[in-house]
């Protein structure tokens, strides 16, 4: 289960391989040679495919199979129950609360992180002299801190009595918030922490993409009298859409992967207000040892991610501007 879970998660990231930043390879006349070459490609892919099959596709399939059984620590004999696990989840209020929390987390983190990352990438892409690299490193720094260490740090930052967060906001006259101990503020607290942790990575992707925007476009626009605002929306933003699509897909996936912060900072509490899908799977599979239910939740999780990514590629992907198109 564990290896399946983690391999699933890491593999999903691989699904979102960087999109082509420029279209390459026009249609080539199909010849015997190219066919042979095509075959060679499959041959080269075989080892990784075998690996994926063993550690990703097989566990995915097996967990879908297990989701049809009642199987837990107190009933070591597997009993086939069909869709009973799915039905009992459908009737379980906690399951819907968990989904709601995931949605809330996604809405709270994705737009903010993307906007922040883009904004800061454009800023540090400007010629600021020597301080530029200092800024870049400083902004990227949170990303390099291991998530668990960062989460432990933020437990203290959010401490209502002696934490930094309330200390700083008290200067602004903002009333003290109990953060992780308040049912309304616990999830926002985790969202704030996650934005801090993740924007640097996305900023780096944007920064790389910005290097690929031809400078002559800006020159031409300046000559035409376009201001900075106009240049951003007319040139930078459209040319960054492939990067944005990539960032968006990764952000969606990582928003569903959120686990470490929850595990360290709240354990899903108070009153399950920060319980998210991955943590719920963990609880069912490894705390309650309800393997059937854990497998059911995992299967739902996989389907949900697949559907989300298909939707993104279908509807958002179409609007992506590729240089050569």
């Amino acid at each position: 289960m564990n290896s399946m879970n983690s391999s699933l998660l890491s593999d999903s990231t691989a699904v979102a391989a960087p999109p082509r930043l420029s279209a390459t390879g026009q249609a080539v006349a199909v010849t015997w040679r190219s066919r042979f070459r095509g075959g060679g490609v499959y041959l080269y892919l075989l080892p990784s495919l075998a690996f994926l099959a063993l550690f990703t596709y097989y566990p995915m399939g097996f967990s879908a199979y297990l989701s049809l059984f009642r199987w837990n620590v107190l009933n070591p004999e597997r009993i086939f129950v069909g869709l009973e696990n799915y039905l009992s989840l459908w009737r379980e209020p906690l399951f819907w609360l968990v989904l709601r929390n995931n949605l809330f987390y996604a809405l709270g983190t994705i737009p903010t992180t993307m906007a922040l990352a883009l904004f800061l990438a454009v800023l540090v892409n400007k010629n600021l002299g020597r301080v530029r690299s200092v800024y870049r490193v400083a902004l990227f720094y949170p990303t390099m801190v291991p998530m668990v260490a960062a989460a432990m740090l933020w437990v203290w930052i959010f401490n209502p009595g002696i934490g930094l967060f309330n200390y700083y906001t008290s200067f602004l006259g903002v009333p003290r918030v109990e953060w992780l101990y308040d049912r309304h503020w616990a999830l926002p607290a985790i969202i704030i922490m996650s934005i801090w942790k993740n924007f640097g990575y996305f900023m780096l992707i944007y920064l790389a993409a910005l290097q690929g925007v031809p400078a002559d476009l800006y020159e031409a626009a300046s000559i035409e009298g376009a201001g900075a605002w106009r240049r951003f929306w007319g040139i930078t933003f459209p040319l960054l859409t492939p990067a944005s699509l990539f960032v968006f897909v990764v952000a969606i996936i990582s928003s569903f992967q959120v686990f470490d912060q929850v595990f360290v900072m709240t354990q899903g509490g108070p009153a399950d207000q920060t319980n998210v899908l991955t943590f719920y799977i963990y609880q069912n599979a490894f705390r309650f040892w309800d393997i059937g239910m854990g497998a059911t939740l995992t299967t739902i999780f996989i389907c949900l991610l697949l559907v989300l990514i298909l939707v993104v590629f279908r509807y958002v992907g179409r609007r992506v501007y590729y240089e050569a198109d």
Partner: protein, 426 residues
């Protein structure tokens, strides 16, 4: 006559050779894996390491390898995974409420035969009765009390003085506690600067059971077959929590197990419900005088025990089990129980441990360490049932919702009752 003497001498020589001969010892060496959690603050992993080293030196044929496995939850997971994989640790400690789950998994062996022979048959009766309770199911002893605690009540004497209260007199009853907490709560506008009393979160299910005990009730029967969460006693206990945390707002409704001791040290809260296991941390960190008392009573004083016990795995050979027992007996001897208590702050599990000179000397200096032991006369076993992890989650969810005013205590406990019954019946 003479022949028998010769045979005896030969046997003795063989035994000595077996015991001290390096070649024989090496070939006969039994290496035991020992999974253990650390459930309270402090460098206890080091203490366990020192104790096992000492045991290994004193017992050449056995080598115990201690494996620190995190908090109680991760340790349980590691043990369960290993048991299911058919490769269990020989010895392990997990939280006491997990015994029915371990039995359902057929993970441990009964220790009655060992216990009967230990220390001339006087071993088992020397343990404090409430500590023995979570060991016995179906008339058999399944594991031995080791790192054991009870919740106690801490109060900040300085803040009592500041509020014009007698610093030497902690509240004795629920009613007194509420009044005292009101006086100790300091507000600025809507903001609470200082809480009156903190009932620690994280293991608040454990503390809640103590309140139910103080109200003359119980939550799950010792056999783990009957739930009693919707009883009048339990509902009243939750009602009292809602009073403190929601209506009067003299205590924080949510917190974590690790955050409240520092809160007490930082004088963010004037009174604290927590394990006796944090006493050493408080004593060494607090810059003010504080006291330890029985938890205030309602109908009666009441507490239940907590902590972890030592168990031996079933699916290992008999000789390994014998060696494992040797280790457990050694770890729980009076002297070592006293030493472990001194190093950790846990309650020593045995009456005779309090007669050990080092222990007496220490307690003469700080009588606060005796409060938890003395409270044992009002204590009972902790509730336990199969799949206790799930039961905990169910209870904690409703406790959290109730103290936020999202659900009234009666409904909350009815929900717990219904859901726990479903778990127990499975």
């Amino acid at each position: 006559m003479r022949q028998r003497w010769v045979v005896g001498a030969l046997v003795l020589a063989a035994a000595v050779a077996l015991a001290v001969g390096p070649a024989d010892a090496a070939s006969k060496l039994i290496r035991l894996t020992f999974y253990y959690p650390v459930g309270v603050a402090g460098p206890l992993a080091k203490v366990i390491g020192e104790m096992t080293d000492k045991f290994n030196k004193e017992n050449p044929g056995i080598e115990v390898v201690p494996v620190y496995s995190g908090d109680y939850d991760p340790t349980l997971q590691k043990v369960q995974t290993a048991v299911m994989a058919g490769n269990p640790p020989d010895i392990f400690i997990v939280e006491i409420s997990e015994l029915p789950t371990l039995l359902a998994m057929n993970a441990v062996i009964p220790l009655d035969d060992y216990v009967k022979k230990a220390e001339g048959g006087k071993y088992w009766d020397d343990f404090f009765p409430p500590f023995r309770e979570n060991s016995v199911v179906k008339g058999k002893i399944w594991w031995i009390p080791f790192q054991r605690s009870t919740p106690v009540f801490y109060w900040n004497k300085e803040l009592f003085k500041k509020a014009g209260l007698d610093p030497e007199r902690p509240p004795q009853t629920w009613a007194e506690l509420k009044e005292t907490a009101k006086k100790l709560t300091v507000r600025e506008g809507n903001e609470v600067k200082q809480w009156g009393v903190t009932v620690s979160g994280g293991w608040n299910d454990w503390l809640f059971e103590a309140f139910v005990r103080q109200n003359g009730g119980w939550l799950i029967n010792p056999e783990g077959t009957k739930a009693n969460f919707d009883s009048k006693e339990a509902v009243e206990a939750l009602d009292y929590w809602v009073d403190l945390m929601h209506k009067e707002k003299v205590g924080p409704p949510h917190s974590t197990w690790g955050s409240t001791p520092p809160d007490f040290v930082a004088q963010r809260t004037a009174m604290l419900y927590h394990s006796t296991g944090i006493l050493t941390f408080l004593r060494t960190s607090a810059k003010f005088d504080f006291g330890v008392a029985f938890m205030p009573k309602n109908k009666t004083f009441g507490a239940e025990v907590g902590g972890g016990n030592l168990a031996i795995s079933r699916k290992i050979p008999k000789e390994r089990q014998d060696a494992a027992w040797k280790f457990i007996e050694w770890m729980t001897s009076s002297g070592n129980a006293a030493q472990w208590s001194l190093a950790s702050g846990y309650v020593a599990t045995r009456k005779s441990a309090y007669e050990v000179p080092a222990m007496k000397e220490f307690l003469a200096k700080d009588a606060r360490y005796l409060v938890a032991r003395d409270q044992l006369q009002y204590a009972a076993g902790k509730m336990m049932a199969p799949n206790f992890q799930k039961i905990r989650e169910i209870l904690k969810k409703q406790l959290d919702d109730a103290v936020d005013g999202k659900v009234n205590p009666k409904e909350a406990m009815a929900t717990v009752q219904k859901q726990v019954e479903a778990v127990i019946k499975r």
